[in-house]
Every structure is written in structure tokens, then in C-alpha cells.
């Protein structure tokens, strides 16, 4: 039992030691931001990474499907700017939505606020996922 426990700890240490370098850690966080779950995949947490890769972009796209809006960076309106930062948290999906000019939102749609909530929360959840990848990379988990 003790041997199994030691082996597990050793494996975890081996897995995270490569990411302990600051430059590598920064790249892990960048990858985790651009593609939700990529940081976990990079660090060998495949099961978690695959769930995030599927779930978070899907949640963001569900928000677009519900006619939610990708908020603009309007610093004159702090809440709108904060929502924009939250939207941006989902990474490449945000850039793809911008490039395809989707996510303009339909204010009169019954599901508009639901859509906004889905998109904002998807981005915020990815910020948590990035922090988790950072902790794993630092060897804290």
C-alpha cells in the first residue's frame, strides 16, 4: 500500500516537473486559455482535459445559440467591460465567434439573458480551469 502511494506521488512529481519551468508554465496557461482543457492535457490529466475541451466551448456556443451577445470592451460601461473580459476567457472560441460574426445577440429574444449567462459563465469557468492547470504545473496538486 505504501509502495503504491509512493509510486503515485513519484508519478505526479515526474508529470509536473517538466512544467515547473516558468516559461513552460506560461505556455501551459496560454494553451489552457486558448483551448479550454489543453493545459490539463499537456500536463497529463487527460480525463479532465477532455471534459473541459468539450464542455466549455459547447457551453459558450450554447449561449450563442440562445441568441446571447459577445460583449464589447466598453470601458465607459464597467459591467459591460467585465462581461467582455469574462467572454474572452473561453479563448479561441471567442476569436472564432468574432471572425464568423456570430454572437451579436438579439435583445428581444426570450433566451437573450440566458445566452449571456451561458457565455459569461463559460469564460469564467475557464479562468478557474487555467488556475487549476497552473496549480498542477506548480506541483501543488
Amino acid at each position: 500500500m505504501i509502495l503504491v502511494s509512493m509510486a503515485t506521488k513519484s508519478t505526479t512529481a515526474d508529470r509536473t516537473s517538466a512544467a515547473a519551468e516558468p516559461a513552460v508554465l506560461a505556455l501551459v496557461c496560454l494553451a489552457a486559455w486558448l483551448v479550454p482543457g489543453a493545459g490539463h492535457l499537456w500536463l497529463g490529466r487527460k480525463q479532465k482535459g477532455l471534459v473541459f475541451v468539450v464542455t466549455l466551448p459547447l457551453m459558450f456556443l450554447t449561449g450563442i445559440w440562445l441568441q446571447g451577445r459577445i460583449f464589447p470592451f466598453e470601458l465607459s460601461e464597467p459591467l459591460v467591460a467585465l462581461a467582455a473580459i469574462a467572454n474572452l476567457g473561453v479563448g479561441l472560441t471567442w476569436f472564432a465567434a468574432h471572425a464568423l460574426e456570430i454572437g451579436r445577440g438579439v435583445v428581444t429574444a426570450a433566451s437573450y439573458e440566458y445566452g449571456n449567462t451561458f457565455m459569461i459563465v463559460a469564460g469564467l469557468l475557464n479562468f478557474l480551469v487555467i488556475l487549476d492547470a497552473f496549480d498542477i504545473g506548480m506541483g501543488r496538486k
Binding site: V51, S111, Y114, F118, V121, V129
Partner: protein, 57 residues
């Protein structure tokens, strides 16, 4: 789609899955936490919905 309860359930599902996987390492624990969170989301919505039922007075 305008079914508010279905949207609430869908939102709860996404959030529960992410938190369950994020906060636990073993698949069994992840499923347990995710299921608990999902149930808590729905139960809270039911309770708050019925509490607000008589409003406005």
C-alpha cells in the same frame, strides 16, 4: 428555446460537470459531486420558485 426550466437544467448540467471534474480526481467522486451539485441547483430553483409564487402580494 423558451423553456426556462430546461435552460436552467442545461446550465446546471454544464456547471456541475465542470466543477465535479475540476474539484475531484477520481471519476466516482467527480460523478458524486457533479450529481450533488446538479440536484442542488434544481432543488434550489424549485424552492425559490415556490417561495416567490405569492409575489407580488
Amino acid at each position: 428555446m423558451t423553456d426556462h426550466f430546461l435552460l436552467l437544467a442545461l446550465f446546471s448540467l454544464f456547471v456541475s460537470v465542470v466543477f465535479g471534474v475540476l474539484l475531484r480526481d477520481e471519476p466516482r467522486d467527480q460523478a458524486r459531486l457533479g450529481g450533488l451539485m446538479f440536484g442542488a441547483f434544481l432543488a434550489t430553483a424549485f424552492v425559490l420558485g415556490w417561495l416567490m409564487y405569492p409575489l407580488p402580494l
